[in-house]
Symmetry: C2
Subunit: 159 residues, 2 copies
């Protein structure tokens, strides 16, 4: 399993760390963890056997979930860097939510292989980032995705 030493999700405040996809406090969640890897972001994930479309192939909704949380986590990393910070430097990073998610399924995704999601960010508005993602199984790009992530409104964070 690829290892993310410093994941952005590890540094979210407790009250916003319950996400089923990427919250470290959600006991039954996926625990997606996103880090920085030489000019891009990266999230590793190996779906469980039950996360299938048909036996042998991964369910598309899990890939969509991976791309979603990888997207908001990546946006957080990109803006955190832009603000002069690094993951884990003691500064709370910005928290994003997803406005739009698009997934293109390129080929059936085999089970039993660790997936790698790479993310590339672009600021499209002071509060909005576009994260383009490639999901690889081995050397194959099995899905590509795009997340439009916006800074979470105060009302969302204060809940």
């Amino acid at each position: 399993m690829g290892e993310i030493v410093k994941a952005i999700q590890d540094t979210y405040a407790d009250e916003i760390s319950w996400c089923y996809g990427c919250g470290r406090l959600n006991k039954n969640g996926h625990h997606f963890r996103t880090g920085w890897d030489d000019e891009k972001t990266i999230t590793y994930f190996e779906p469980s056997e039950e996360h299938m479309a048909i036996p042998g192939f991964v369910y598309g909704g899990i890939l969509a979930s991976l791309i979603d949380c990888h997207g908001t986590g990546s946006a957080s990393i990109y803006l955190h860097h832009k603000n002069g910070h690094q993951i884990g430097d003691g500064t709370e990073p910005p928290r994003f939510v997803t406005a739009q998610l698009t997934v293109d399924y390129k080929k059936p995704t085999p089970q039993g292989i660790e997936l790698k999601a790479y993310g590339f960010g672009e600021e499209i508005h002071p509060k909005k980032w576009k994260i383009t993602t490639e999901v690889l199984a081995g050397e194959d790009v099995v899905a590509t995705g795009e997340v439009i992530a916006v800074i979470a409104p105060e009302t969302f964070l204060k809940k």
Copy 2:
């Protein structure tokens, strides 16, 4: 809970009924069930408490999963109808897979409310349907989605 009397997923062959989203044989899956409701398709779903983004609001990856399986199920229903059949008439319906999934998150989706996904289908190619979906929580449209669904290739079904 809204009830789907005849769901298309109930009529898929056993070997393609393991989907984590909508397979009736996947013990821990979501068991999305899609039926026909007066000129549109419909899927009901109430996310569990752990399916949260933050406490009180539903995780977007679950909405993406709902729209995904609702989309392929809806495409199956539309083509089944076009072929002169009805759900549960003893004829095996066509099985679709998702080529592209797009979700627009319109507002935070409250937990504890049954969601309704409505689907509207359009044939865009003999083997490809576009399903446009609205997801409602009560009277509020909380998300809209689009699925480009293609008839599952033989190689996929033979696995």
